[in-house]
């Protein structure tokens, strides 16, 4: 059950209208951290990093937009 200030119709808005050209985005675990990557033409680009260690966000290899591995 959702308890949120966002109206349900916004959360469950029609998806086909919102992302017509959605590139494949997936979560991978890398050295104990969660990294969201975007796959596009064999290239893996970092979209988002999830870690509780603040220094991970300063590491060059995890900067959003950089290439993964």
């Amino acid at each position: 059950m959702l308890y949120t200030i966002i109206p349900y119709e916004s959360i469950y808005a029609n998806q086909s209208e919102l992302n017509l050209s959605n590139p494949t985005i997936e979560w991978v675990e890398h050295r104990g951290k969660w990294v969201q990557i975007e796959k596009k033409n064999e290239q893996k680009k970092i979209v988002r990093l999830i870690s509780t260690n603040p220094s991970d966000y300063l590491a060059n290899e995890y900067q959003p937009g950089s290439l993964f591995e």
Partner: protein, 258 residues
């Protein structure tokens, strides 16, 4: 004797020549390195429009958990929603509890709410963590973000940040049997109980905020901003990262003394 001297001289000059050689090589390598560094910098600038930031050492003793967007539990929300996922957050809290190098945890909230069970689960995990925890609400800590914010040992709210307290509701769904209403009421009660137990607000006051009319445009409830959240007893103090870090370090020191 003379021959020996000459030999040394030749050896010396050879060595210096070698030194010179390596010096030139080194200089060359350095300029190449600078070039590659410059190009990688350029690449990064092209990628994001931002450049390197100074790096911390790996052994940071304060970890930070950010809770942003919708809190996602049992149901996977459509991809247009930015979500904080249960399966990401819970193992992180377990890892923080287990890692002896981590002394404290800072929770940064900017959430619009989300799944009740997942939100309460995160709140309970944080409340039962044996390490000092401090939360900051930046921007917003609405709905199920409220119990998460108050679950920490000490809670801060930024001056401009808001928290919306409103009843749990079902939009677009007709309550067919009285049991459904009872179920909803019980679920709401869990939130109320948690918040009143972990903060300075009384059940009466919290419910009054929750069911107040005329404050929100589309709903009943109250939107408390910065200082108001402290006045009603929900949060401990108005402040930002500086005061939160100071408090967390103080709590860590206190814990180490005992």
């Amino acid at each position: 004797m003379k021959e020996h001297f000459l030999h040394i001289l030749v050896k010396k000059s050879l060595r210096s020549e070698g030194l010179m050689d390596s010096f030139i090589k080194q200089e060359k390598a350095e300029s190449e390195l600078e070039e590659t560094h410059a190009s990688s910098l350029l690449e990064k600038l092209k990628l994001l429009g931002q450049t390197d930031v100074p790096t911390l050492t790996d052994d940071t003793n304060i970890h930070c958990l950010t809770i942003i967007g919708q809190i996602e539990g049992h149901m996977q929300l459509p991809p247009q929603n930015k979500t904080t996922k249960y399966e990401h957050v819970i193992p992180q809290i377990v890892a923080i509890e287990q890692n002896p190098n981590i002394k404290g945890l800072l929770i940064i909230l900017n959430t619009v709410g989300g799944d009740v069970e997942a939100g309460l689960a995160i709140s309970e995990m944080l409340a039962s963590l044996s390490k000092p925890t401090v939360s900051i609400v930046l921007g917003g800590g609405h709905s199920i973000g409220v119990p998460i914010a108050v679950s920490c040992d000490y809670s801060f709210i930024a001056e401009t940040a808001t928290m919306t307290i409103h009843p749990i509701r079902l939009t677009g769904m007709v309550i067919g049997v009285p049991q459904s209403f009872e179920y909803l009421d019980k679920m709401q009660d869990r939130v109320v109980q948690f918040v009143t137990k972990h903060s300075g607000v009384s059940e009466e006051d919290f419910k009054e905020l929750m069911f107040a009319r005329g404050n929100l445009t589309r709903d009943i409830g109250t939107n408390v901003i910065g200082k108001e959240a402290v006045t009603v007893g929900l949060m401990n103090e108005v402040g930002g990262i500086g005061s939160a870090m100071k408090k967390l370090n103080q709590l860590i020191d206190e814990k180490e003394v005992h």
